[in-house]
């Protein structure tokens, strides 16, 4: 359709896209589909696949990555890259392991420490990127290195002691039904929904889509970015915290694997690296997918040597499908 066509019948009512278009346009759909397929295969190839314990294990294993990916998504939405995730996860992991106390209160204290540390690093990143116009990818690389240095100062070998409350209760099932991991994930998601429904949330998408227009529309772009990086840091902190509970130890280089996995999860989740499109839910599901994929590859007996190939192919496939659907759903838009 072109300007004149629409101008001529300009009083034809304009309603929101049909539901199927919106569904297709939303990257989350693809990841849900992939997840469903994997689950089916998994259930078919492993007898106790859907048993409570197995599911809990999967959730526990994927939660730290899911949290980290959630944080990374916020930065990607602003068209940035945050490599500091690896450093922050390691840092908070050892912080919690060394300074976390016993019992629920101790765990709470540990969480507080982790969140604070993450927020601090995030604030540094955010300030320098938003107000000094430093290249996000390069800056956060430096931050990551410094963080891992600080980590080694705190703990130069795996250790620290993690309370039984964290080790067992935090990774158990509430009332033997709901995995704690699931609860945490849902809480984070709800928190995101809430944030999404603030001026910052709207501004975040505005900034990512078109910074110039956002400024013209009065969005405080710099502050939006700063907050995005801070919240990202907080998420990394939580990831480090949950990782501590999962591994019941502080490991100085525990975060390293997350550096690239996080971006894999985000990509799987259908968040666009061009900014302004996507969301936290997709990334968290993306993280779950990566974990489940390992399980499926095991249960289907794929020679372990080749697991990497499958992971890579799935990543590419997901993005390609997302790109394709995005085109379909946005076809016929007027590009002014």
């Amino acid at each position: 359709m072109n300007t004149f066509a629409s101008a001529s019948n300009s009083n034809a009512p304009l309603r929101p896209d049909a539901w199927y278009r919106r569904v297709l346009g939303d990257g989350t759909t693809i990841i849900v589909a992939i997840l469903a397929v994997l689950t089916v295969i998994f259930a078919a190839t492993q007898s106790d696949a859907l048993s409570a314990s197995v599911l809990t294990d999967i959730l526990n294993n994927s939660l730290p990555l899911a949290l980290a990916a959630a944080g990374g998504t916020l930065v990607v939405l602003t068209r940035g890259f945050d490599l500091s995730v690896a450093g922050v996860v390691s840092l908070t992991n050892v912080l919690v392991a060394v300074h976390g106390g016993d019992g629920p209160l101790g765990a709470l204290e540990g969480a507080a420490i982790a969140v604070a540390a993450g927020a601090l690093v995030g604030a540094i990143n955010g300030y320098l990127v938003a107000y000094w116009n430093l290249q996000s990818i390069a800056l956060t690389l430096a931050t990551m290195i410094v963080c891992s240095g600080v980590t080694l100062l705190i703990l130069d070998a795996p250790g620290g002691n993690v309370s039984d409350f964290m080790t067992y209760t935090m990774t158990d099932r509430l009332g033997k039904i709901v995995p704690v991991a699931l609860v945490v994930a849902v809480c984070v998601y709800l928190l995101w929904r809430a944030l999404r429904r603030t001026d910052w949330g709207v501004g975040l998408y505005a900034t990512g889509a078109d910074e110039t227009a956002a400024v013209l529309a009065g969005v405080p772009v710099k502050r939006v970015k700063l907050i995005a990086y801070i919240l990202a840091g907080v998420c990394y902190g939580l990831a480090g915290f949950m990782l501590t509970a999962l591994t019941s130890t502080g490991t100085p280089n525990a975060g390293e694997p997350y550096l690239l996995l996080v971006f894999a999860a985000i990509a799987l989740g259908g968040t666009s690296f061009a900014g302004g499109r996507g969301g936290v839910a997709g990334s968290m599901l993306g993280a779950l997918t990566l974990t489940l994929l390992q399980k499926v590859l095991f249960s289907t007996g794929v020679s372990s040597f080749y697991t990497g190939i499958f992971q890579g192919v799935v990543m590419i496939a997901a993005v390609v499908v997302a790109v394709f659907f995005a085109r379909v759903s946005t076809r016929g838009e007027v590009h002014a």
Partner: protein, 514 residues
């Protein structure tokens, strides 16, 4: 100059406190001066026109008023109080709101969200309430006669016209003291919608700064107007007392005179160089035109009538929907700029900075880009030959050689344009397709560009030129095609080729109304 100021101050001398009073605003970016000295004022309830060619400084004034750009010198007062907004929000708070030409809407947000930016309607728990936002948006939309747009629609799926309406409505709905409208009707086929709104708010005493290329609109709405030229306010005139020609003369200034070079008025028929038949695509509905060898054909039209897509189809940028393009007699299919270039088309885009030059590269590198292959063997560029080629071309477009070694971003718009045209000529194009080649360049450069185009066709080339400046077209081209609503509204040549005639055609009615 002095008298220009005198008149403006005289005009602002008596009467009620001005809504806006601008005195001696100047602003420059590095080497490029955007605005030299601009002064004018707006009275309560007045719709004040800001007239001038592209690049005369209008958009800079808009940015200053909306707090995006802080002027280097000069003073602004709003309702008699000093007015120096640090950012868009400050401007808005002070009671100035703007509908921008490059619309400030976010495609990935809903209409409601866009309307509410940067502060959405809050429901319980202080969270954004989609329902409330959409409700408010809906009432707003219906109040301004856009009830047919559902507030939940994503802006990216709106037509350009709808977007423009939303942009305007958002500015108006903030009930500002001063409303700034930058080319508000560019995409509106029927501006009466806007005019009604303006009547309403001016009745309430709001001041409006109105920027438009459409003189007929300006005359209908505005009592006074200020003419800008090359970043200076030439004069603030009462529009009733001056004819279009007079205004154009002020806008174009000396350029009109000293480049009033002889035009090949001889109307012999020439063999076709390139042309299109029943071409449609983008906003072009159905256009047929032909350019002869050694001929300069002009294209005129109000903004958004399809001329842009016509040129971009010839450049291989906009996909062709129907009809055919002929070049040198052969029907061609231009699916990419590369193909267009191979076919002999030399395209100068309208957006110099984003689509034309490579700001990061040196001027000479910019110019030789398309012919690097020819400048050496085995893909290795022969420095000497490159220098020779550049110097020769620089002479042709009259570009001082001291600029050649600088990054092109450091050059003034005029010199950038010279380099760009130089590049296009270098590429060995046989047919020039120039979209507003003199946009925002100074008078001297204009003269140069005219000459370059003329001897290009004199050497057997052909050129299709679009310009927003009728005066320019009139003295440059052999004949001029006027586009309206994506079709050819008419053609003028020889004695027929006059501003009133073009204005009339462009406004969509056969007979002149001035």
């Amino acid at each position: 100059m002095a008298d220009a100021l005198a008149t403006s101050t005289a005009a602002s001398g008596a009467g009620a406190p001005k809504i806006l009073d601008i005195q001696g605003i100047a602003k420059s970016y590095g080497a490029t001066v955007a605005v030299r000295r601009v002064s004018f004022d707006i009275e309560p309830g007045e719709i004040h026109a800001l007239l001038g060619e592209n690049g005369a400084g209008k958009s800079t004034i808009v940015k200053v008023l909306s707090g995006i750009v802080i002027p280097d010198t000069g003073t602004l007062t709003l309702d008699g109080r000093d007015y120096a907004p640090a950012d868009p929000m400050a401007a808005r708070a002070a009671g100035v709101s703007t509908a921008f030409q490059e619309l400030s809407l976010l495609p990935n947000l809903s209409v409601a969200e866009n309307l509410m930016l940067p502060r959405q309607a809050k429901g319980k728990a202080g969270l954004v309430s989609v329902a409330q936002s959409e409700a408010r948006a809906a009432s707003m939309l219906s109040e301004y006669g856009l009830g047919h747009i559902h507030p939940g629609v994503y802006v990216r799926s709106l037509s350009l016209a709808e977007k423009q309406r939303i942009e305007i409505m958002r500015a108006v709905a903030r009930q500002p003291r001063l409303l700034v409208l930058d080319e508000p009707t560019a995409a509106l086929s029927d501006p009466t919608w806007l005019f009604d709104i303006l009547e309403r708010i001016t009745a309430a005493g709001t001041g409006v700064l109105y920027i438009s290329h459409r003189l007929s609109e300006v005359r209908r709405l505005c009592r006074r107007g200020t003419v800008l030229r090359n970043g200076e306010s030439i004069e603030t005139v009462s529009l009733a007392g001056i004819a279009d020609a007079g205004i154009f003369k002020m806008m174009v200034g000396s350029a009109a005179r000293d480049t009033q070079a002889t035009r090949s008025t001889a109307k012999q028929t020439r063999p076709e160089a390139f042309g299109v038949t029943n071409l449609s695509g983008g906003t072009v509905a159905d256009i047929t035109l032909s350019v002869g060898k050694g001929e300069i054909v002009g294209v005129a039209g109000l903004e958004g009538q399809g001329q842009r897509d016509l040129f971009r189809m010839l450049a291989g940028l906009t996909p062709v929907r129907g009809g055919q393009i002929r070049i040198d007699g052969k029907t061609v299919n231009l699916s990419s700029p590369a193909e267009a270039a191979r076919a002999g088309i030399g395209f100068v885009p309208e957006e110099r900075k984003t689509e034309g030059v490579f700001l990061g590269l040196r001027t000479d590198s910019n110019m030789t880009l398309p012919i690097l292959g020819r400048l050496g063997r085995f893909g290795v560029v022969n420095g000497a030959r490159e220098k020779a080629a550049v110097d020769q071309q620089a002479g042709r477009v009259d570009l001082a050689s001291r600029y050649l070694k600088l990054k092109i971003g450091a050059l003034s718009g005029g010199n950038q344009q010279k380099a760009l045209i130089g590049r296009v000529l270098m590429s060995g194009a046989r047919h020039l397709v120039l979209f507003d080649p003199t946009r925002g360049v100074d008078v001297g450069t204009k003269a140069v560009i005219y000459d370059v185009i003329r001897d290009f066709v004199a050497q057997g080339g052909s050129a299709l030129v679009y310009s927003t400046e009728l005066a320019e077209l009139i003295h440059l081209v052999d004949r001029c095609v006027v586009i309206y609503h994506g079709t050819v509204a008419g053609e003028a040549s020889g004695p027929d080729l006059s501003e009133p005639r073009l204005v009339a055609l462009a406004a969509g009615h056969g007979v002149s109304d001035s």
